[in-house]
Amino acid sequence: MGISLGFLLAGTMVAGVLACGLPAQAQDVGIGLVVPLSPPGDPVGGQLIRRGAELGIETVNAAGGVLGGRKLKLYVEDSQGKPEAGVAAYRRLVSENKVAVVPGFFHSSVAIAANEVANEMGVPTMALQASAADITAKHYEVAFRTHVVDPVRVSAFMEFIKQKGFKRVSMIAETTDYGIGIADETIAQAKKAGGIEIQKVPFDRTVTDLTPQLLQIKAFKPDLVINIGVGQPLDLIIDQATTIGLLPNTPMLISYDAPVRPQYWKLHPQNGAGLYFIAYFSPKAPLSDIGTAFSKAYVEKYKEDPVYGALNGFGAIEIIAQAINAAKSTDPKALIKTLETGTFKSWPSNPVTFPRASGVYWHNWSAPVLILHYTKPMEDWKEAEVAVQYAPVAPKD
């Protein structure tokens, strides 16, 4: 009796462990999502992508799923903005959860590191808000991206600098692939343009007191400061620059779209005004039919308008679902082929493609880049002044 009970218990435990370890129900198609959900990454950025992706999964499943009725199942992993955590997350998703594709990747360093492993394991990645050139410039078969690349972002900076007639530009840049990539690209494009003196002040993103760096910038007397921090450093730079009198006397350009988030005005109710920032989506631009439906569902669920991160999270799931259906398979090689050759519908009104283009434009699609300007405190980002609208032109292969 004792032995039988022991066997029963052991059997139950083994069954329990196996059940927990199973990737999903047999008919489900697993999709991984690697995003930062805790510091030192940008958890708000990760959370917005996650919200969009979750609604994307709900939308696709409500419409019947993929491959004639199989449901999509999302597996979310926290990269913490750290390459090693992102790589471990990718490995776990592919080995344990058997996912077909791994979108996400807010931080460039994480995307670059994960792509090295993806190149060996074969399951494609899709970077949704990571812009470093190396993500696509290495021409890995597995690497896809639906986001603006560094040279395009910097071209928008240069357009802005030219328009305003700035001659002395300081950059405070975090020492990550993103920060240094953008800073170096800006130096290269400024040199090419001529007549612009550039100061590059790098910082470690774990540092919280950036006063010494900002004092150097103040001493340089720039016409413009480009804030190339991501997450918490970005906010610390704004506050500490205000304290030492750099802001609002010198205009500041933020290198990504963090100021469109509701959190921005909570942290900077006064000193957030007057700043310029990169955005990838204008509320004045038309959305596709699925983008409009998503926007409505998002407002209903979260009581706020979706911003670019959420739209791109949603778009990625839609693109992946369409690719799985077109490939009639979840096999990574078939998916890669379909993504390269197909045309997909996402949140913008124009179609999405991932051609085998030259340079950084390999497997890359991106929305137009805007530079928006908050002219008053607590301004709705949808009302922000459009200072620059820059449409990237990918070179033909």
Binding site: S38, T208, T211, P212, A219, Q240, L267
Partner: protein, 297 residues
């Protein structure tokens, strides 16, 4: 580039941040002196102090009463410290002496993960700022946030108060005696476990105080205690484990070296300068600037 104004501004900035680092280091070194254990979750007590400050200012007292929120936050962390000491750390002293370090390390590391996860779960991963309506203050040629100046003044006051209590009160005498010999003080009728409880509470309250003071300057989020803890441990090594003047002087030294290095050598390596100083001290004076070689039986 090397203007006098920039040098003076950088020195002021370094001294200001150094004193605040010292507050954190003091908590670490004080707990070690009495309990002979390292509290690896020190940064999480800093984090709790910052969240309490944010909650009190944003939800209850309002920005005008920020100064009242600071002692309340520190007291809240003190009370939480008493509970942690009683429930998790007291059993250390039932273990054989050689197992105490391992036990304390495991318990405080587990506490670190638990508190960080709890903060993320309860308040989300977002950043918060309690805000400050204090005006910018000119200290020589250096404009400083009113909140940072207030933090500096509070920190100096707390350090002075702590020193006086330790030096001139009966309980301070008991604490100092315990740090010299845990067995010896028991023969004098001192309740060592009670001393431990107070020492742990005061030590983590110092971290909580630093968190509350720096909340409007460095923001509030689940891992905000991490970097300050690292600085705290660096200061303990530089100043000498168990030395209060050492903590203050090493804190200022670390703040200065980091600021000057970032401004005049390479700003990308701000954290490295502190570690370089730690290595130098370990080579030249392994017990730290003010530390004393321990007596071993």
């Amino acid at each position: 580039m090397f203007s006098t104004e920039l040098v003076v501004q950088t020195v002021i900035s370094g001294v200001m941040i150094g004193v605040l680092y010292a507050l954190m280091a003091l908590g670490i070194t004080f707990i070690y002196s009495i309990m002979r254990m390292i509290n690896w979750a020190m940064g999480e007590f800093y984090m709790i102090g910052s969240y309490l400050q944010y909650a009190l200012v944003a939800l209850l007292l309002g920005p005008d009463l920020w100064w009242l929120a600071i002692p309340i936050s520190a007291a809240g962390v003190f009370a939480f410290g008493l509970v942690v000491q009683w429930s998790l750390l007291k059993p250390i002293f039932r273990k054989p002496p050689e197992a105490r370090d391992d036990y304390a390390t495991v318990v405080t590391l587990a506490l670190l993960l638990l508190l960080r996860s709890l903060a993320t779960g309860l308040a989300g991963p977002n950043q918060f700022s309690p805000g400050s309506n204090l005006p910018v203050v000119m200290v020589g040629p250096m404009p400083l946030a009113g909140a940072r100046v207030a933090a500096f003044v509070f920190a100096l006051g707390a350090l002075a108060l702590f020193y006086c209590l330790l030096r001139y009160s009966w309980y301070g005498l008991a604490l100092r005696a315990t740090s010299q010999s845990r067995i010896g003080v028991q023969t004098a009728g001192i309740d060592v476990q009670g001393v431990d409880r107070i020492a742990f509470g005061v030590g983590v309250a110092l971290a909580g105080l630093a968190g509350a003071l720096l909340a409007p300057v460095f923001l509030v989020y689940p891992t905000n205690g991490l970097i300050t803890t690292v600085k705290g441990f660096e200061i303990v090594v530089i100043g000498g484990l168990g030395s209060i003047p050492g903590a203050l002087i090493a804190g200022v030294l670390l703040g200065l070296i980091e600021s000057l290095g970032a401004a005049f050598i390479d700003s990308a390596y701000q954290n490295i300068y502190g570690f370089a100083l730690v290595l130098l001290i370990l080579v030249l004076r392994p017990t730290g600037l003010f530390g004393e070689r321990g007596r071993e039986a």
